[in-house]
């Protein structure tokens, strides 16, 4: 059977989509990918595979996507411009499509200085927005950069990310508009903890008419502990975790914090569902893929819709 993007179908059918993140192992271990994939299977429409996230070397995103596909999942291939120039990017886009991958998320990637190869040369030949446009050109115009014709264009549902909480905040809706203009079809946002501010941002997005141009999936990450929340709030740039959220975790005994974190996450999803223009949720349970099933169930997002 010809592979198709489940994510695209679910969104196009007007269903509230669920995606989750899956981080590949630090080794050539396909079983680790299968195991994580199977924790998500049936609970999500599609599973993102991170691409050497935070600049740490891991099993390749493309290889992991192929393994997930074998397990019956619809993978979203994350691809960063940090490690590949335009030659490698275009080649891997073609390779992904040839291997039956149908979703791609175009990112610039965390700077190499954060990872375990801080002496590496960052490529950054093109940026994430240019990459979106490039994949769109390859797919829709059937050409590569420079104009050479492709013998067969890639078939990919094209995604991007946006962080409403990073500075300069006044420009973030405009930046999303730019990604829409470049050709992004779906967006997964940075983790949302400050729902009131996210609502404001979504209003700006709607005022620009961008919500009509692409599908926006709100990003969530369950907090495991007060320590994790405080660490993220302090050390991760562009992360907005309001005091109230941290206080809520502090209000329960340490043994209960994980449970409270899940509860906060589920409530956030319920609030997101009420926001006009939000078409799904993207769950990033970092090294806690087991939590996804509980979150999806708790948010009453089961069963996942059947698609043809």
């Amino acid at each position: 059977m010809k592979p198709e993007s489940r994510l695209k179908k679910v969104l196009a059918a007007g269903q509230f989509a669920v995606t989750a993140e899956c981080g590949p192992p630090k080794g050539a271990d396909p079983e680790a990918v299968r195991k994580k994939g199977n924790l998500l299977k049936g609970f999500v429409d599609s599973a993102n595979v991170t691409d050497n996230q935070t600049g740490v070397v891991r099993l390749s995103s493309l290889a992991s996507c192929v393994i997930l596909r074998e397990e019956g999942l619809d993978p979203v291939l994350q691809m960063v411009t940090r490690d590949r120039n335009r030659i490698a990017l275009q080649s891997d886009v073609l390779g992904a499509s040839a291997l039956g991958i149908r979703n791609i998320l175009c990112l610039s990637g965390d700077h190499q200085s954060f990872g375990n190869q801080p002496e590496a040369k960052g490529v950054f030949d093109i940026d994430s927005t240019q990459f979106i446009r490039l994949v769109r050109q390859m797919r829709d115009e059937g050409t590569m950069l420079g104009g050479d014709k492709l013998t067969l264009p890639p078939e990919l549902f094209i995604g991007a990310v946006e962080n409403p909480f990073a500075d300069p905040r006044s420009y973030r809706a405009r930046r999303l508009e730019k990604k829409a203009k470049a050709g992004a079809e779906f967006i997964q946002t940075q983790c949302i903890y400050n729902v009131p501010y996210f609502k404001e941002w979504m209003k700006q997005v709607r005022d620009l008419g961008v919500d009509a141009k692409l599908f926006i999936l709100g990003g969530v990450t369950p907090l495991k502990s007060v320590k994790m929340a405080e660490y993220m709030a302090k050390n991760v740039a562009g992360m907005d975790i309001p005091e109230e959220v941290i206080d809520r975790l502090k209000g329960v005994p340490s043994g209960e914090q994980k449970k409270e974190g899940l509860k906060i996450c589920i409530e956030t999803i319920q609030q997101l569902r009420e926001i006009k223009g939000i078409r799904g949720v993207h769950i990033m349970a970092i090294e806690w893929e087991e939590a996804v099933a509980q979150i999806v169930e708790g948010a009453r997002l089961l069963p996942r819709p059947a698609v043809q």
Partner: protein, 222 residues
Amino acid sequence: MITAERKPLPEIKESITPYKKVLIVGCGTCVAECASGGEKEVALLASALRMDAKKEGRDLEVHEITLDRQCVYEFIDQLAELVDRYEVVLSLGCGAGVQAVAEVFPKIHVIPALNTTFIAQTKEAGVWIENCRGCGDCRLDQFADICPITRCAKSLFNGPCGGSKGGYCEVDPETPCAWHLIVTRLEESGRLEKLAPLYPPANWSKKEGKGPRKIVREDQRH
């Protein structure tokens, strides 16, 4: 200017270990301006090496000279009389200076005493910032005169990325986010629409081209 920083003394000392007669050559232009390789720095290094040798009871003859420009033949020629009397040249020029001196004197070993860093603006006394990568295709006017190639850690053309916090870069919290500066400057002057068009992939061939770049100006050739 081109900035440089002097290598640590132990590294310099080790690099000249086999030699007893050292000619230290400074440069009076960029590296003098950024206080790493001018006349004063040459004198400081020379006396540090002399003192060190004396302390350790080694013979070391050090001669100091600072050229106006170490990257231009007509100044390098001043070394012609001197070079033969020394075993090694310790250069306090930038990488271009080191190589130019080596080219003029094929038989002498030239050792760099500086690490050449970047094209800089003097931000304040003792502070230099990198703000040009010499990409060969200047489009500063499209980015509010703030270079995203140089001053954004990811060289984004359609920034900002999601890692800007309080106007600073997540990669180095002491470095202002170039895109924060660009957006703010354009907002304040009512020119934000400058950023509306999608900026296409850069033409790096003007930077990376066919290896090292060369400028040939017929009108300047005699």
